[in-house]
Amino acid sequence: MSGETAVKLTADVLVIGGGPAGAWAAWSAASQGAKVVLVDKGYLGSSGATAPGGTNLLYLPPDRELREKAVQQRMESGGFLSEADWIHRVLDQVYINLELVEKWGYPFVRDEDGVPQRNHLQGPEYMALMRKAVKKAGVKVLDHAPALELLVDEHGVGGARGILRQQNRDWEVEAGAVVIATGGCAFLSKGLGCNVLTGDGYLMGAEVGAELSGMEFSRRYAPAPAFSSNTRSRLLGWATYYDQEGKELQGRRDGDFLAKCLLEGPVYAIMNKADTPEKQAILRSSHAIFFLPYDRAGIDAFTQPFPLTLRYEGTVRGTGGLRIVTDDCGTTVPGLYAAGDAATRERITGAASGGGAFNASWAICSGTWAGAGAAKHARTAGVGSVRRLRPAGRYGLGRPSVQGDGPTPGQIDTRTLIRSIQAQVLPLEINYFRTEKSIGEALGKLHALWPEVNAQAPVTVHDRVHAREAAAMAATARWMYTAALARKETRGGGLHVLREYPELDPNQHHRLLVSGLERIEVKPDRSFLTPLADQAAPALKEAGAQ
């Protein structure tokens, strides 16, 4: 560490990340009586994919039949890689937490019968409220405090350290347990709120031996204005699509429709299915941020064409992340917990994206459970033992390469390295229209540039953050593609395909675990399969034949 005098703190629980999952984890741990520190790369209240826009929630009344139906639908759409009891847990927990959110002051609208509509949250309001709740619970919050590496000893994870990037000082927190809630990885594709999501937590976890699961389920792009960031695209359901000549693009807009059209040429949309002032007013009062880029660019979205693109969302709306093996979202490493997009979402969504509703609900629930789990671990584990913690970071920290080979430090410019990684990850031709060849070649290039992550020589505090982000993105891309090449089938909601394997293969009814940094191991995981899930196998064959 090269900053000025370090800020040193001790806590029972350290939460890394201040999006919804981190906020709920910190609140939950503090509610259990734990002394909690939360650090965020940016600002608790504005960081992450949720804060700038709106997010849907799963809010099903506690009606047994209704919920069972929702669970079965989700099991099926996820290619039976999810677990029914975990989906039920989420439906139960999110219902409770959303009542809390209302109690804390969120002004949920009511319908004509006075029933509060707790199935959508406006991000800025929600996250400002969460900041208040977290601080009121007694959590110490460090903003602009990116974590760079975990601290570890023979008892497991015992803290982390990083930078106070607006003070040019280092921080170090020793803690009985750590929750990683740093979000997914969207590779700086400028999706709304997503540029803080660079896979930092995956790298920190992998450096202490944690496994990742579901990383192949990362084929996720979102429609956005070609010139802007807004990846909140639900309202495009009211749009008609046109080609460059103004000819309507016919056909069902599901599956690969937009991606294929974009390979042919520019695609434009007009929101002309919202064809009355009343409808337009309703849409403007729902996802208000959808209209902001168009209004500012002088485009009347209801009558004038605007150009669309697809921005990569990686594991943010994709599904992979740190593997969790206990009911309280513990990883395979003692003292290390994961929540939100930093954790794999497979246990509830399987091989499908949750879209907004499942994902936002997962952040709330996994955060709540991870926070409680971490608090409990801190109370019970390692009591009385002296910790001999050492920093676990090995990549992108401006230190010489582990093997001493590869380019010399200082040879590699961080922004150039990031562009090289993006060139293998963002293009539709590689990562959307996946083939063994395209993914294989891209993975080869990513492996080849991996030694470069330790040839960065960050000087300023900002460089240090970006260098570490580059390392995390390079690692994440290699895990994604390694897993992608190992799943030779098509399962679930289109989050992974290889053109050569369009069918579902019942023999691949497993999750894929990846681990390691120099050499990446991949292995199947069937531990989640119950006798009941095996009975579903015949249904799978039918689903695959469709």
Partner: protein, 125 residues
């Protein structure tokens, strides 16, 4: 990307420095400066928090553009996102009049669902 910190309007509260998730601004003796524009992710958060409508985030994510403060002020653009969110004294919060729970009532005749693509027309998007 962020294009404007109005010297005339800014009261030096540094809230934008604090809330910007990608740390784009630096504090100075008075108005913060846009120190790392290339890190701006066009999330509009800084505008939402600015109490005096001194900031302008252009919709263009990948290119810097010239802006004219007088025109933006005259067109009512400065502070417009904060106003839409209903933040600031005497305003009704967008959250309190959120129509999202009801938009399925006005769905077009043939809703569409995208598989590998996010939430276009998906009721649970």
């Amino acid at each position: 990307m962020i294009e404007l910190v109005s010297d005339d309007r800014c009261i030096g509260c540094n809230l934008c420095v604090k809330v910007c998730p990608t740390n784009v601004f630096d504090k100075t003796a008075h108005a913060p400066v846009i120190a790392r524009q290339e890190d701006c992710q066009t999330c509009f958060i800084c505008e939402a928090y600015c109490p005096v409508d001194a900031l302008y985030v252009s919709p263009y994510t990948d290119e810097a553009v010239d802006v004219d403060e007088e025109t933006l002020a005259a067109d009512g653009v400065l502070g417009s996102w904060r106003a839409t969110l209903g933040w600031g004294p005497g305003r009704t919060k967008l959250a309190a009049v959120d129509q999202t729970p009801f938009i399925n009532r006005i769905l077009p005749p043939r809703p569409v669902r995208a598989a590998g693509i996010s939430d276009a027309g998906s009721p649970t998007g």
